[in-house]
């Protein structure tokens, strides 16, 4: 089952994309050809691409459509955001050591669970740990009771919805409605300087490459084989003596961690994180990227995330009223007519041409049979 969905993108193309993202873009920016704003936007796209890979690992490779990946993405973002909030220090509007929203809520001292976030390594660890722990708990419950297919989707949607409701509350001490914003420094450097922006972009692009290579290795290993077997027929996997639940749980956790990394890189570049980032719509949007790019491939989600968001940036300025219609219609068309996404288009065209050829050949053969050759007589 390697070929139909996971069509092999030529290595040259992959290398070209990686080279473009990691080397060309930042060099052009340093040379002044690409503006800081554009680079920052691309940094955002790259983080989205990481999220898209996380979605694809679950959906394209394991057949689990999770509508909760935006939750893990935001959780990673929130963990990084907590550290960045504390780094604002006395520069905030209230000139207090506490983050502004806490002063606003009338807090006198930092809640205990915020204390360790003064340390960057701890925050970085939490970026990985918190999404993973949530994924373990939820995944264990869901896969143990063999919830699958659309039920899994609906449950993850409910999980996301519940979590968003929770983060909207002020007494969670996570900024409530407004979330975290107004970040100043990271690791002692000014977040607003072009150098740091470039460094953040570079970190995102390198992370994306690393995530890509990791997933490439994972999906081509024996593990990946079982993963795809689960997607295609879970019962046969079960009957062959594999514990499908454990495999699914493992993929779910890996995917959550990848999404978390994406979120953690996203927040310092965008400068804001709030509960609307974890709504179901965001998860579904990530699913759109994967569907458009081509699920079951690793290059597809990257192309999809960058392409759709590029389109979004353009359409929301040119046709703000029509953007949602364009996005929705794209989605319907892709689902109906391009099940393998953009990556699958060449194969689809080839299939059509082949069918035409076969048809023509058949017809020619038929004609040959019907018209008896005069020599035969």
């Amino acid at each position: 089952m390697n070929t139909p969905l996971a069509g092999k993108a030529p290595t040259v193309l992959l290398a070209a994309v990686a080279l473009f993202l990691v080397v060309v873009m930042p060099s052009l920016n340093a040379a002044g050809v690409v503006s800081d704003f554009t680079l920052n936007t691309w940094g955002k796209y790259v983080c989205y691409a990481i999220l898209a890979i996380a979605v694809d690992l679950l959906w394209g490779y394991t057949g689990l459509l999770s509508l909760g990946q935006a939750l893990f993405f935001s959780l990673g973002g929130y963990m990084m955001g907590m550290h960045l909030m504390l780094m604002i220090g006395k520069l905030g509007a209230y000139k207090s050591d506490l983050p502004d929203f806490m002063v606003f809520l009338g807090l006198k001292e930092l809640p205990d669970f915020w204390q360790p976030f003064y340390s960057f390594p701890f925050a970085a660890l939490m970026v990985l740990t918190v999404p993973a722990v949530l994924a373990v708990i939820f995944g264990y419950l869901a896969f143990r009771s063999r919830i699958k297919g659309v039920y899994f989707s609906i449950l993850t949607q409910a999980l996301t919805y519940g979590a968003a409701l929770m983060f909207f509350r002020n007494d969670l001490m996570m900024g409530g409605n407004n979330g975290f914003t107004d970040f100043r420094t990271v690791l002692g450097a000014d977040l607003r300087s072009p150098e740091i922006k470039r460094a953040l972009y570079l970190a995102s692009a390198i992370s994306l490459t690393a995530v890509f290579l990791f997933c490439k290795w994972l999906t081509t290993s024996r593990f990946g084989l079982i993963q795809r077997a689960i997607r295609d027929s879970e019962n046969r996997v079960l009957f062959s003596g594999y514990s499908a639940a454990n495999f699914k749980l493992f993929v779910f956790v890996i995917s959550a961690v990848i999404a978390g990394i994406g979120g953690a890189l996203y927040v310092p570049q965008v400068g804001i994180i709030n509960p609307s980032e974890m709504m179901t719509e965001k998860s579904l949007e990530a699913v759109v990227w994967v569907a458009v790019g081509g699920r079951g491939t690793l290059i597809g989600p990257i192309l999809g995330a960058i392409g759709v968001n590029y389109l979004k940036s353009w359409a929301t300025t040119e046709y703000p009223d029509l953007w949602l219609i364009i996005l929705g219609a794209t989605f319907v068309i892709v689902v109906l007519f391009l099940p393998k996404g953009l990556v699958g288009v060449p194969a689809q065209i080839k299939a059509i041409i082949d069918r035409r050829k076969a048809l023509r050949k058949d017809r020619a053969d038929d004609l040959a049979e019907i018209t008896p050759s005069p020599e035969a007589e």
Partner: protein, 583 residues
């Protein structure tokens, strides 16, 4: 106008003095007689220029017999300082009101209070003056008390049921012993049981201020028996005083009354919570029943279900406008102008009865298009139908925004759905009662369609075994179409209903989509009865948790958590459809 004593000629000395004294004593009574024939404006006009405080109070006191509405209106103006005194050319004070807007010199046209006619000068022109040139007819606290007495008396006798009830309750809360007589008089003539109860409560509350400790104790116990929520604070005060004064039995009575009232409150809350839970459950049920058909029976994940609800809600909005002022919109540069019927009252209320079938048909139509255009290609790929319908839902949402605007639109409830019914302090809103009845009706209709019609038979046959049904000559494509349209129509009905209990906006559907999917999953896919039970269960759990935790959002989060745990125990919902197939 006022009888004035003539100048005091020296000779009559003492006689005249005696006469004057008599006159002064008689004066109020005489004036009252005179006043009864006068209108409220005249009396107030007169009272306003009277300098003597006692005479003024007496005059105001006579107002209780005048036209109630006029009295309330003008006394209010007096209290709020809208009545001025103006000295006319003859040097006589006249009470006036200011008419219209000030002119360039800040002068107002004057109108005499007593007659309501413009004040004219010697030349016949309307007199004008600035506020500074006039004296404000002010009121002191003594006079205001008398005014309050008059308005209270008027309110207690009001012919309007609601106003009378409100007046009785307000008077009870004032606890003014002077008003006891007033309340008792009213009780003697009052016919309505509910107001009689309120009067009894008000009287008991007023008696809490009685001098006699025995009367107070009796009143306290009476209030306890009534379970009077309003009296809680007053009883607390009585208890504190009694404790200070060392009246042991009164303190005990207060404690007992407080316990009684508290148990009454908890009873009211419990019943109220159950009622709200039932109505929320019914809302969920109405919203989820369409989904139970499209998702439960057909297995189609229709993420645009919420938008079908909105289609129904906006249809109701349009029908409402059609019955009123008409529809004026200009979406996409098209000018739509449909004249309305400009109905009001009972005829306008009927719009809802038209809106119900209209919203069913509109949503069913959209559902039909959706099925033909998108879903029929995806019956074998449920995950993809989820994604495609989500795309459709975004498109529809945005279309709504473009056509109706991003803001909520106002749908007014017909008179028979607004208002409420209070029994024993428990409030039953008509619209909530209605949703329960509506849910019962829809369930019955759905059940009847599925079990008693030939369409229902075909639907069940196709859902159970598509291949076999097709072999028997059932046109499965057509059945799919009809089933989906039916489920969508039910969503439209839900929308018509939701428009009565909340705002109608492009995002309305999104608020319900998660809840309704949860309801169907918990109920057990493919089982209408399961949906009913799970909707009521989730509604009850939600409302009870809200009551216990005192926080709606936390309650909702707990319910979502509970659902996830529940599915551990019963992964395929309350009523699982048994099947031998593995997937």
């Amino acid at each position: 106008m006022m009888p004035r004593a003539p100048r005091n000629p020296v000779g009559f000395g003492r006689w005249i003095l005696a006469f004057l004294l008599c006159l002064a004593l008689l004066l109020p009574a005489v004036m009252a007689q005179e006043a009864a024939r006068k209108s409220a404006r005249e009396i107030i006009g007169e009272a306003a220029i009277t300098l003597d405080a006692d005479q003024q109070k007496a005059l105001v006191g006579t107002l209780a017999d005048a036209d109630p509405e006029e009295v309330v209106q003008w006394l209010k103006k007096w209290k709020e300082g809208e009545i001025y005194l103006f000295q006319n050319a003859d040097g006589v004070d006249v009470a006036v009101t200011l008419e219209g807007d000030p002119d360039a010199e800040d002068k107002f046209a004057l109108s005499a209070l007593a007659t309501g006619k413009a004040v004219t000068g010697p030349d016949g022109a309307v007199m004008r003056a600035t506020k500074d040139e006039l004296y404000l007819a002010d009121t002191d606290s003594g006079l205001r008390k008398v005014m309050k007495g008059v308005t209270d008396r008027i309110a207690l006798a009001s012919t309007d049921y609601k106003k009378r009830l409100q007046a009785v309750q307000d008077t009870g809360l004032e606890q003014d012993p002077a008003k006891l007589v007033l309340l008792e008089q009213r009780l003697a003539v009052e016919q309505d049981t509910q107001i009689r109860n309120a009067l009894a409560e008000a009287i008991a509350m007023t008696k809490l201020r009685a001098e006699d400790a025995v009367v107070r104790q009796a009143a306290v116990l009476e209030l306890g028996d009534m379970g009077s929520i309003a009296a809680q604070g007053a009883i607390k005060t009585v208890r504190a005083e009694a404790e200070k004064a060392g009246q042991v039995s009164l303190v005990a009575a207060c404690d007992k009354a407080q316990r009684d009232i508290e148990s009454h409150i908890s009873r009211v809350n419990t019943v109220g919570t159950l009622f709200r839970g039932l109505s929320l459950g019914s809302v969920l049920l109405v919203v989820a029943i369409g989904l139970a058909i499209t998702f439960g029976l057909m297995g189609v994940i229709n993420m645009a279900h919420g938008e079908l609800i909105v289609v129904g809600a906006y249809t109701t909005y349009l029908i409402q406008n059609l019955f009123a002022a008409g529809i004026k919109m200009s979406p996409f540069g098209l000018k739509i102008d449909i004249p309305g019927m400009n109905l009001s009252g009972g005829a306008w209320d009927c719009y809802f009865l038209v809106a119900l079938p209209a919203s069913f048909l509109a949503a069913a139509g959209v559902g039909l298009l959706l099925e033909r255009g998108v879903i029929r290609f995806l019956y074998k790929r449920p995950l993809e139908s989820l994604l495609a319908t989500w795309g459709v839902s975004m498109v529809i949402q945005q279309l709504f925004r473009l056509v109706f605007g991003a803001n909520n639109v106002q749908v007014e409830s017909p008179a028979f759905l607004s208002g409420n019914w209070t029994v024993n302090d428990i409030v039953f809103g008509w619209n909530r009662v209605f949703v329960i009845a509506f849910a019962v009706l829809i369930i019955f209709l759905t059940w009847a369609v599925l079990n008693k019609t030939s369409l229902g038979l075909l639907i069940r046959a196709v859902m159970q075994n598509r291949g076999m049904a097709a072999c028997m000559g059932v046109r499965t494509e057509r059945v799919n179409m009809m089933t989906f349209a039916f489920g969508s129509g039910l969503a439209g009905l839900a929308g018509a209903f939701l428009s009565q209990i909340g705002n109608v906006g492009p995002n309305l559907g999104q608020n319900y989509i998660v809840d309704s999917f949860m309801t169907v999953v918990v109920g057990g896919v493919g089982n209408i009865m399961g949906t009913v039970i799970s909707a009521l269960g989730i509604g009850m759990a939600d409302q009870s948790l809200q009551q216990i935790l005192g926080n709606p959002v936390l309650g909702k989060i707990l319910v979502l958590g509970a659902i996830i745990l529940f599915l551990q125990w019963k992964p395929s919902g309350l009523f699982a459809t048994r099947s031998r197939s593995l997937d």
